[in-house]
């Protein structure tokens, strides 16, 4: 059924159609479920000096 998330067997590669199906690493949850904890984590991992970091993030053009 379309849109149904597939929870299935682990990463065996069936020989016939080269399909790999994912085993859910954690039970599915809404993106912002427990949002305060999520935002705490983001605060923890985000670079402190945002302005400097963003300003200094300069690459060259690729293809």
């Amino acid at each position: 059924m379309a849109g149904t998330e597939r929870v299935s067997r682990s990463g065996d590669v069936p020989r016939d159609d080269d399909v790999v199906v994912a085993e859910a690493a954690a039970p599915a949850r809404e993106l912002l479920d427990g949002v305060e904890d999520l935002l705490d984590e983001i605060d923890e991992v985000l670079e402190d000096n945002a302005e400097e970091f963003v300003r200094g993030y300069v690459q060259k053009g690729g293809e």
């Binding site: 990463g11 085993e23 993106l31 053009g61 293809e63």
Partner: protein, 452 residues
């Protein structure tokens, strides 16, 4: 359906900072990263035993080209493998720099824009038959490519003179024409430089350069699967009157700026369907094509089902697709983060969230954080990715290259390979040409391996 191969090339952004301050230029970082690669491969381009190519591209972007993959899902697995390989390289580089007394952190990003308006890409390759009408395929594909950002866009917080706006696509703001053979100057959606890396009499390579880099497995897969089906429909000359855009460069920006998917797409006829309307047009045409000619193809049916589901959800409420689409997930994070800290739209911390979503580091990247906590729909598991870091796809030419490289390493012999050639560099100077990307078994390669 007739088999083909798909490949993805990703240009990564890199930084080296201490306390947020830049300590090395991107050139210097990339060169340090590739010292390992250069030392080992004697060139800034190496082929790995999983069949992939790792190299230093113009503009010092580390670039990873997946091996030839047999399906869109296999290409997603190999994209993730590439991320892991490049991330591991970044970690080793950080350690090597620290050992030299240069303190700081290497970061690698799977995104498409920096803070100076530069853009770099996620490029798709689809192998098509030389006999096909290439011009018809490419022109028929353009409206699809301009509008697929409604689900494939990675999202971007765009700063402009009028303020800060969130748009669907990282790449859409950069100048685009339909189809061209130039690469860096005029930015075509489809690049027609004809290097098939295969038997040029039988094959051409369709090289799409307009895509955003996806962190989401689902979005990456859907992008490839739908594009592949549209290309097949055009290749097999199914009855389909492709719309004609008045100006692709304008249309792609108009679409990007309307998160509802109702951005107008002006046609040469004067009509202005919405982006969702154009996607629906392609979906219906492909459904008809598959039902008529390939009704037994399960992978196609599955992809069509997901495409239909996504378009319907986008019409109703795009934010429902927060577990599938990069642009939605990222927007949710931005809105929540902004609300918590009560930030103005142009606050640098929001720009940082936009960037950190794309950080390859599993401990720091925001998309990785979401995945770890089960907040995104995954399509590939860690075991599959770990396998793809070491082993090539089993049913394409990559299998031959990977086997040859592994055997050469075990035998301690000096070899050179590229997409087509397998060469033993010694007195005998033996070379085998593998000109068919679809062939994974070859007696000549068996004999070459025996000779190692």
């Amino acid at each position: 359906m007739r088999r083909r191969v798909i490949g993805l090339e990703t240009e990564y952004g890199v930084s080296f900072t201490l306390g947020g301050q830049r300590r090395l230029s991107t050139d210097e970082v990339a060169r340090h990263m590739f010292r390992h690669v250069v030392a080992w491969g004697r060139s800034s381009s190496v082929f790995l035993e999983n069949g992939a190519r790792l190299y230093l591209d113009v503009g010092a972007h580390p670039e990873y080209a997946t091996p030839e993959c047999a399906t869109p899902l296999e290409a997603v697995v190999h994209e993730r493998a590439g991320d892991r390989i490049v991330h591991d390289l970044a970690v080793r580089t950080g350690e090597a720099l620290a050992a030299e007394g240069i303190r700081g952190e290497v970061r690698v990003f799977r995104n498409n824009t920096d803070s100076a308006g530069n853009s770099y890409g996620s490029h798709e390759n689809y192998l098509v038959d030389r006999a096909g009408d290439f011009g018809r395929i490419t022109s028929g594909l353009v409206p699809f490519l301009v509008t697929r950002q409604v689900f494939a866009g990675a999202g971007k917080l765009l700063r402009g003179p009028g303020g800060t706006e969130y748009v669907l696509s990282q790449r859409a703001e950069h100048v685009w024409e339909g189809v061209s053979s130039a690469t860096t100057r005029s930015r075509p959606l489809i690049n027609t430089r004809d290097e098939p890396h295969a038997d040029a009499e039988r094959f051409r390579r369709l090289h799409v350069i307009v895509g955003d880099s996806n962190m989401s497995d689902y979005a990456c897969w859907l992008r490839l699967a739908t594009t592949d089906l549209v290309v097949r429909m055009l290749e097999e000359r199914a009855a389909f009157a492709a719309p004609e855009l008045a100006d692709p460069a304008v249309a792609i920006r108009d679409v990007s700026r309307d998160l509802s998917g109702r951005g107008p797409v002006r046609l040469t006829s004067g009509r202005t369907p919405t982006a969702l309307d154009v996607q629906e047009l392609y979906l219906v045409a492909v459904e008809r094509f598959v039902a008529a000619r390939h009704s037994d193809d399960e992978l196609a049916e599955h992809a069509l089902g997901e495409w239909r589901f996504v378009l319907a959800a986008l019409r109703e409420d795009p934010m429902r697709l927060e577990r599938q689409l990069d642009w939605v997930a990222k927007l949710r994070l931005l809105e929540a983060y902004r609300a918590r800290h009560d930030l103005p739209a142009d606050d640098p911390r929001l720009a940082l969230v936009d960037l950190a979503y794309h950080d390859l580091d599993p401990r720091r990247g925001l998309h990785h954080l979401l995945v770890r906590e089960g907040r995104m729909q995954r399509l590939v598991d860690d075991a599959a990715v770990a396998d793809a870091m070491e082993h090539p796809p089993r049913r394409t030419r990559a299998a031959l290259r990977g086997r040859f490289l592994a055997a050469a390493r075990r035998a301690g012999r000096d070899v050179t390979v590229d997409w087509v050639h397998l060469k033993l560099n010694e007195q005998a100077q033996r070379t085998v040409l593998c000109k068919d990307p679809l062939v994974w078994q070859d007696e000549r390669v068996d004999r070459l391996i025996d000779a190692l």
